[in-house]
Structure formats: structure tokens, C-alpha cells
Symmetry: C2
Subunit: 167 residues, 2 copies
């Protein structure tokens, strides 16, 4: 059932990585999930305000054809819960915090995104869930294609068949 | 002087358009400033959270090669205060509010961006200033090129020469 917090229990044993507890140079740990990476963005703090930057080629490994923002998500609710067959996504939590589970069918990992200079690259064929949105969370997602409902895999069993059948 | 609020006084007579006071269908008023437009983005409200989307071709009239976010700007401070000779920008205030002045050398206009489903397209050869950031403001900027310091025009007199000399 969509939005049922019980679905998250299955991920309780996922390795949790709260970025704020890591040393800065460890902000890009290698993920055990195929193709997933945590990318440190350019970040400038100055007296006149802060800036984070994601540039093509350098930071974002695909051409950006769509940008969307997700916000006002109730804390108990869950977003995502699907994979894409072709779409690349690059997630930046630009305000507040959000937890993200990524799962390639063999391994899963749980990231907390809580700073705007970290981007999470989720390639196609990775199941993803976003949850525990803080009240003020704004999740920016850069995507490699315009919206295509046929690119979504919304059933986890079907996802497993898809990734295992094509290995 | 950068950051001197006195510089904003010159814009006090600019036409102010607070979007939240407009009817929804008027969210794209034609700007008197050359090439500037206010674009209504796709926006979905649902019980599980809200979403705004900017797609290439449909909403954003250029290829996106850089995305940056500006946040934690003190309210009294000013960002921007420059033009670009080639760069296109698309501004979305995804949290809080910010005021933006656009000026083509002949006309100027003052927009308040206070909702995430409105994008302000600022083409090259337009002087722009951002100010009155709310404490929680997060301004997302989609840009048509990677960072190039040579594309900036930081002096208003030089800007006027540039736009008038090439008309």
C-alpha cells in the first residue's frame, strides 16, 4: 500500500549513512548499490549567502532534460518507491533533510541527504524510496529525460525480474 | 558598492508584481524587459506532498548545463548585480521568497518570486539583481552554460554601453 510506513521496515537493516557524521573527504563513499554515487558539489559559503553548484559533465553525469522539486511531504509519508528502466536521476536536498533508499536487487543502502552540496546519482535499474522528509525538506531532482510514464517500474517483484532477467 | 542597500533605491519606481496577488492565469504577464518571461511550471499538489517540474523545450527555453542554488542570504543583502553576455538563466524560488529586478537598459521590472511553480527566464544582455531574500529562501537557477567568469558584466555603465552599442 502506497504510503504505508510498514513498508520501510524491510529496510531497517540497510546500512545507514548520515552524511553529517562523516568527515568531509568521505562524502563520496563507494556505494554497494550498482552505479549509485554520492557526489560532492561545489559549495561556496560567504557573508552574502551560500551557493551550491552542479555542473554537467563535471558533477552530473548526464544531460539534464527535466528538473523537479518535491516539498511539503508529510514526515510519515513515502515518495518514490519505483525504479526507472532508462532514466538517470540526480538528487540534491536543497533545504531540510530526506532519507533515500537505493536498491539494485542485490544490495540496498540508506542515505540521509541533509546538505545542499551533496548530490546522489541514481542510475536506471535501481529501486528507490524517499522517506523521513523534514518539515522544510525541498528535494531537487535533475533527470535525464522528460516525463515518460512507460519508464516507471512500480512493482518490486517486477523490478527484480527486470534486473535479474537482464544481467 | 556591492551589498549597499542604497543601490536598490533606484528601483523603487519599478513596477512591482507580487505574484501571489495575481489571478493564476495572469502568472505570465508580458514583461516590458526584453526577452524576460515568467513561466508557469507544472505543479502537482497531493496529500503525499507537492511537486513542481521544469522540462526542457516545454518550459525551459535552453539546454541546462549548470544548476545552482543560492540560500542563507541575509535579508538586507543583494545578490546578482550583473548581466551576462551569452548566458540564459531560469530562476525558480523553491522555498521562501526573493525579489528580482530585471533591466534591459531601457526598461526595468521588479518581480517577487514566492512560489515554486513559477520560473523567471532571464536571457543574456539583461541586468539582474536579487534582494529581499526571506530567511528560508532557496533560489534555484538553471543556466545554459558552465561557469565562465568572462561572461559576466559587473559594471552597470559598461552594461549600458554593451546593450546600446549592439542594438
Amino acid at each position: 500500500v502506497v504510503g504505508n510506513p510498514a513498508q520501510i521496515v524491510g529496510y531497517a537493516d540497510a546500512q545507514s549513512r548520515k552524511l553529517s557524521e562523516q568527515r568531509p573527504e568521505l562524502v563520496e563513499p563507494p556505494s554497494v548499490v550498482r552505479g549509485v554515487s554520492l557526489i560532492r558539489l561545489k559549495h561556496v559559503n560567504d557573508l552574502r549567502g551560500d551557493l551550491c553548484v552542479a555542473e554537467l559533465e563535471k558533477d552530473v553525469p548526464f544531460a539534464i532534460r527535466r528538473v523537479f522539486c518535491v516539498y511539503n511531504v508529510p514526515n510519515a509519508d513515502i515518495r518514490g518507491e519505483h525504479a526507472h528502466s532508462e532514466l538517470h536521476q540526480f538528487l540534491v536536498c536543497v533545504n531540510g533533510s530526506v532519507s533515500v533508499v537505493v536498491d539494485d536487487g542485490d544490495n540496498r543502502e540508506d542515505y540521509m541527504l541533509d546538505r545542499p552540496w551533496v548530490g546522489l546519482h541514481i542510475p536506471p535499474r535501481v529501486w528507490s524510496i524517499q522517506y523521513k522528509h523534514s518539515r522544510d525538506a525541498v528535494l531537487m531532482v535533475l533527470a535525464s529525460a522528460v516525463y515518460d510514464p512507460d519508464d516507471y517500474i512500480r512493482d518490486y517483484g517486477e523490478f527484480l525480474e527486470f534486473v535479474r532477467g537482464s544481467q
